[in-house]
């Protein structure tokens, strides 16, 4: 499968169009749900952090600082990746599975089209390119959600929250690189696992459903596993 994935495309222009389609389908169309969830998660994070601070010795700007670290390191890259694994993973597995059981993949093969290269490679490449950008949207939305929570609840003033967010700038770039890097790894994991599950479906509609479930479960488990491995490699000196 890997060999066929990276073989030379039949017609570059067709594959470029396929890549653009997948970027829209997998990435751009996920932005709405990602933004919505991120805003609410950002709000909840601020309220929970602010409510946990009982001691007057802990400054209130800690709310902004802690929220920023949580959003940057874990919430946006990992939690959103798990949500995308559910949305995108089941979409890919069911799309390819349906194409398999309705003989559309056989039709491609008989025409002489390398079906793996045509169907799967643009999905993997597209997701690796677009998911880090989606995660940037998620981070921005979560920060905005934090502002909104400060404004609506008054637990922390906006100025204090902003001050907390701006603290310790130096490490932010490393954290951002770490977050976007692991997002690209998660994108590869979820699209390749889901594509494999869908592409090799045997049977009918029931099997397509099972393949979708397997795609989401296996992708989620591997994302969590690789999250641990990458975190250990990058953040422990």
């Amino acid at each position: 499968m890997i060999g066929q994935m990276f073989s030379k495309p039949e017609k570059f222009k067709v594959y470029w169009n396929r890549l653009m389609e997948e970027i829209v389908q997998l990435g751009i169309k996920s932005v709405g749900i990602v933004v919505l969830m991120s805003v609410f998660m950002g709000m909840v994070l601020v309220i929970q952090t602010a409510s946990s601070i009982d001691s007057p010795l802990i400054p209130l700007y800690t709310v902004g600082y802690t929220s920023k670290q949580s959003i940057l390191l874990e919430f946006s890259p990992t939690i959103i990746a798990l949500i995308l694994a559910g949305k995108v993973g089941s979409n890919i597995a069911s799309e390819l599975g349906s194409m398999r059981v309705t003989e559309q993949i056989d039709a491609l093969e008989i025409m002489g089209v390398n079906s793996i290269n045509y169907l799967i490679t643009p999905k993997i490449a597209g997701s690796i390119l677009i998911f880090p950008i989606v995660i940037l949207f998620s981070m921005a939305s979560a920060f905005a959600g934090g502002y909104l929570a400060c404004y609506t609840t008054g637990l922390v003033t906006i100025d204090t929250y902003e001050y907390g967010i701006q603290l310790f700038h130096d490490s932010d770039m490393l954290y951002l690189q770490y977050a976007l890097g692991k997002t690209a790894v998660f994108a590869f994991i979820m699209t390749s696992i889901s594509a494999y599950q869908g592409y090799y479906v045997k049977g009918g509609a029931l099997e397509v459903g099972r393949a979708s479930t397997r795609a989401v479960v296996y992708s989620s488990i591997l994302i969590l596993l690789f999250n641990y491995i990458i975190t250990q490699l990058v953040l422990i000196d």
Partner: protein, 251 residues
């Protein structure tokens, strides 16, 4: 012309095809018939290269599909048009885009030329004014005709039809059969039709191979199949009430 020579195919411990040989002639509709599970589809998938037989040769005008490399296999496949049992049209593409698809992938035609060729193929199969509809928006009979248009868009040398009448009413089935026969003669293609529909056999069976339990059990044509004394073929041909009545009448 396609020559199948001594093909055997096994899946695990189960042997599906036993030493099958047959010649599919150019300009004729060659039928592979037999009961469900007899090995018709496996044989067809071996011929088009989706399965690899353990033994034997499959010669497309002398090129052996079993031993040629992937690049040559790809070239042979570009000469093949295939109509699948469920049409296998691409859901995400419109009728016009489906027919244009092979042209987009394998020719250097301009978009206008591709559209013109696709329009010609759609007109030839009598699909008019449905260019922008998706496969799910047209009937099963129309889907089959669009699939035929897609199959002939590259002017193939070989046309494979896997149970072209399944799921169609008798009248539409006859239209599809006639279309396949007309196109075969018009473009001088080597056409292979897999079917267990007796109407098709009697309508378009220029050459017939009867597969029984994985063996090439009988060969003939649409005339000789009615008079053969081969027990299994007689059982297959006269299995319906209508054919039984017909047999009693001719006897």
């Amino acid at each position: 012309m396609i020559e199948v020579k001594n093909i055997s195919k096994t899946f695990g411990d189960t042997q599906i095809l036993y030493d099958v040989s047959f010649t599919f002639e150019k300009g004729k509709t060659n039928l592979i018939i037999g009961q469900s599970g007899s090995g018709k589809s496996v044989l067809t998938k071996c011929i088009v290269g989706l399965h690899k037989p353990e033994i034997g040769q499959i010669l497309f005008n002398g090129r052996d599909m079993v031993t040629i490399n992937n690049r040559e296999k790809k070239n042979v496949r570009k000469e093949i048009g295939m109509l699948f049992q469920g049409s296998a049209l691409f859901d995400s593409l419109t009728v016009m885009e489906n027919v244009m698809y092979p042209l987009t992938m394998f020719t250097k035609m301009t978009k206008a030329q591709m559209k013109e060729r696709a329009k010609f193929c759609l007109d030839r199969v009598d699909i008019i004014g449905k260019d922008n509809l998706y496969p799910s928006e047209i009937s099963g009979g129309m889907q089959k005709r669009v699939a035929i248009a897609r199959a002939i868009s590259m002017k193939p040398e070989y046309l494979f039809c896997d149970e072209p009448n399944s799921g169609l009413d008798p009248k539409t089935s006859i239209l599809i059969d006639e279309l396949i026969k007309d196109l075969t003669e018009e473009y001088q293609m080597t056409t292979v039709v897999i079917t267990h529909d007796m109407n098709s056999v009697l309508e378009i069976g220029d050459n017939i191979m009867f597969i029984y339990k994985g063996h090439n059990h009988w060969t003939g044509n649409k005339e000789s199949i009615l008079t053969t004394k081969n027990e299994e073929v007689v059982d297959f041909v006269y299995s319906s009430k209508f054919m039984k009545m017909y047999r009693e009448k001719i006897i």
